[in-house]
Symmetry: none
Subunit: 413 residues, 2 copies
């Protein structure tokens, strides 16, 4: 079963926007056994798109288009669908109501041009875009299925994940491709490679890809076999072998993030968390609270940028700030203890450092970071140094706070 | 003058490798006035490639292919060129010497299969690949120029920069292309389109692309003319006209983010900022503090997840929480006022809402958000409703906080 992805937009053909939509779609198709055979990117031009659609439906089982579905002048997809399938646009009352409700909800007046969002090609399935205003359009023809998706990545992904994949799964063959990602933290890529290599590898025809990203290394395992069952058996054998080797670093699989793994640990061990952030400016808290249900264990955070806030909010002593400075092990430690005490949480964690690009000195260079973890009566402080740009240093520090926290949590029986 | 880029490789069609080569090539072509009209990505298959090449040379002035030039079984480009142009492979002695020298240089034995690198289609220009072993192949036909480049990005870029661009420049129409992005916030794509359309457009042959992303719409302007000077003059005229029309929403150009624009305003007007976040969990603060130098105007943030924290840290009254609930206009307003008072900042901004997925009720559904802005003695509260997933809702809310803040700041004389 073969698919083609047609991406529409001058931004992509000109090279100014990377075609990440097509890559994402190809991987999603592969996960249900449909091979993406061709990706075509064209400019916002009705005639070109008509030609592409006509050619595509002749040679492919699945045709996906992205982009050009809005109601501005560069949106050409609906016009092309109408021409390619010799139909006409009709106003869909349900979509019109949804578009009007959307504007009510976000509390903005609706421009008349938006009514056009409700004009759909006659004979097409209209699939609701719950995160935007342009619905997805589907058409089942002789030997092919076509879906026109919006170009805004999160809208497209939402519709694809919740609606289109289900429809495609009904017609897809059952190919034996099984993938699984094992996620590690607190170990670098080459050390992880050496660790696995020294253990004798996984001893099975399963492919491992090392995917490092900012303080974390994911291991993507791919097992391909004629049957799903045998591919899965091979993958499971490889996973079992790996689990033993990478145990101290392995926190979860696939879509599980380190913040989710931390949430699981806190919930399991009935512990609450609060944080005091200086150089990370709220980033640690925002990642922790991105997890649904985090209000069960996360109590509060203090982003104490000024010295005054460190004193007022956390009870850091003036003498510590004068003697050691705001970026010091002593201040980090008092911050962690301070947020633990004032919030009444079981665990307090803090960050203080120089994210840069300015503010560094010879003794305390840009990238110098202290992280403290207060747990029960203990406070452990780590000193780190990252030489990256401001945002990377903040991200790397927040990841390190999570690493330290997760490693401490798993040690609790 | 129009170009097509044909990218060859299963790893690209499957989505596991992003097609960064095509984007890079498109931008390079644009810089010498050649418009990349289409990008096609296909699998390693001779027949498919032959069809694509035959179709391409009929419709385009410039045809570039990348990938498939090596000497392993999945390298199909030379076979396809031979078929498409009805020629044959001949061994090129100069290339053979170069390949042998290359292996001497890197001090590795040369596998016999590498001799095939020196087999080139008869009648083609052979362009040396000084960073690898597969030479680039060029063909000048009736009304078209074709170049087959290697797929390894640095080899491809090296040959393109030093050899192919020179050749293409000789035939390119010497066009001047100038781009600029104007960024807006607080207005949707279609409303912005209507606004600009109603004003009579930009009255100049400058292309506008609308690039919406989560509460923000960027306008990318492209001006193409025979000379760079006239292209720039046209672009500047369009910008001037647009500036008047979109003024209430226009916050910056190109790489300037809304958080940078807010920083500029705060600095210019000598104002300080503090925030009290509930549903955004520190995201607003983390975005504000991602800007270098933000410690000059950002004092502190309180992430008050629990009611206790709202009372203890911000002075939200128990009676407000009991009567109206934590997610209410009253609580939002007391939070903004509270952080303004306790931090001593000029401006306090707050968020409270139900980010979901759980926690919604009939009266207060998931996605219900209140944002309050305390500035001097005034507090203004906005009610919003987003029905997206947790992270999108948090991101959209943080963006809305920035919109409200920026709009208030620009009004201050």
């Amino acid at each position: 079963m073969k698919a083609i992805i047609i991406s529409i937009g001058n931004e992509i053909t000109s090279g100014h926007t990377l075609n990440t939509n097509a890559s994402w779609l190809a991987k999603e198709l592969e996960s249900i056994g449909i091979i993406s055979d061709k990706i075509v990117t064209i400019r916002d031009n009705v005639k070109t798109l008509v030609d592409e659609i006509r050619a595509a439906v002749k040679s492919f089982d699945v045709v996906l288009t992205t982009g050009g579905l809005g109601s501005t002048s560069d949106d050409v997809t609906k016009l092309a669908l109408v021409k390619a399938f010799k139909t006409r646009l009709v106003r869909d009352k349900k979509v019109l109501t949804e578009v009007m409700n959307y504007y009510k909800k976000i509390n903005r007046p609706m421009a008349p041009v938006n009514k056009q969002q409700a004009d759909v090609p006659e004979g097409f399935e209209v699939i609701r875009n719950s995160w935007g205003t342009s619905p997805c359009l589907g058409f089942q023809g002789e030997g092919f299925l076509l879906y026109s998706l919006p170009g805004v990545p999160y809208e497209m992904k939402n519709i694809m994940s919740h609606e289109i994949l289900k429809r495609l799964q009904r017609i897809s063959p059952k190919l034996g491709i099984i993938r699984s990602t094992m996620k590690t933290i607190g170990i670098g890529e080459s050390d992880l490679f050496t660790l696995i290599d020294n253990s004798g590898g996984i001893g099975s025809p399963v492919e491992i890809a090392y995917l490092p990203h900012l303080g974390q290394v994911d291991l993507r395992l791919t097992s391909i076999d004629k049957k799903t069952t045998s591919a899965r058996a091979r993958l499971n054998a490889a996973r079992k072998k790996l689990q033993k080797v990478i145990r101290p670093y392995y926190f979860g699989d696939d879509d599980e993030s380190i913040e989710m793994a931390i949430g699981k640990q806190l919930r399991k061990k009935k512990l609450t968390l609060a944080c005091a952030e200086s150089c990370t400016g709220g980033l640690f808290a925002s990642i922790i609270t991105s997890v649904p249900g985090s209000s069960d264990y996360f109590l509060e955070g203090a982003i104490t940028y000024t010295n005054k806030a460190k004193v007022d909010r956390l009870g850091v002593t003036e003498s510590t700030l004068v003697e050691h400075g705001a970026v010091s092990a002593q201040t980090a430690s008092e911050m962690a203890r301070g947020i633990q005490n004032t919030s009444g949480s079981d665990i307090g964690i803090s960050s203080t450092g120089i994210a840069g690009p300015a503010g560094g000195t010879k003794d305390k260079p840009v990238g110098l970071i202290y992280i403290s973890l207060a747990m029960g009566s203990e406070v452990i402080t780590s000193k780190l140094n990252f030489s990256m740009d401001r945002v990377r240093t903040q991200e790397r520090t927040a990841k390190e706070m999570m690493t330290i926290l997760w490693q401490a949590l798993v040690k609790i029986p």
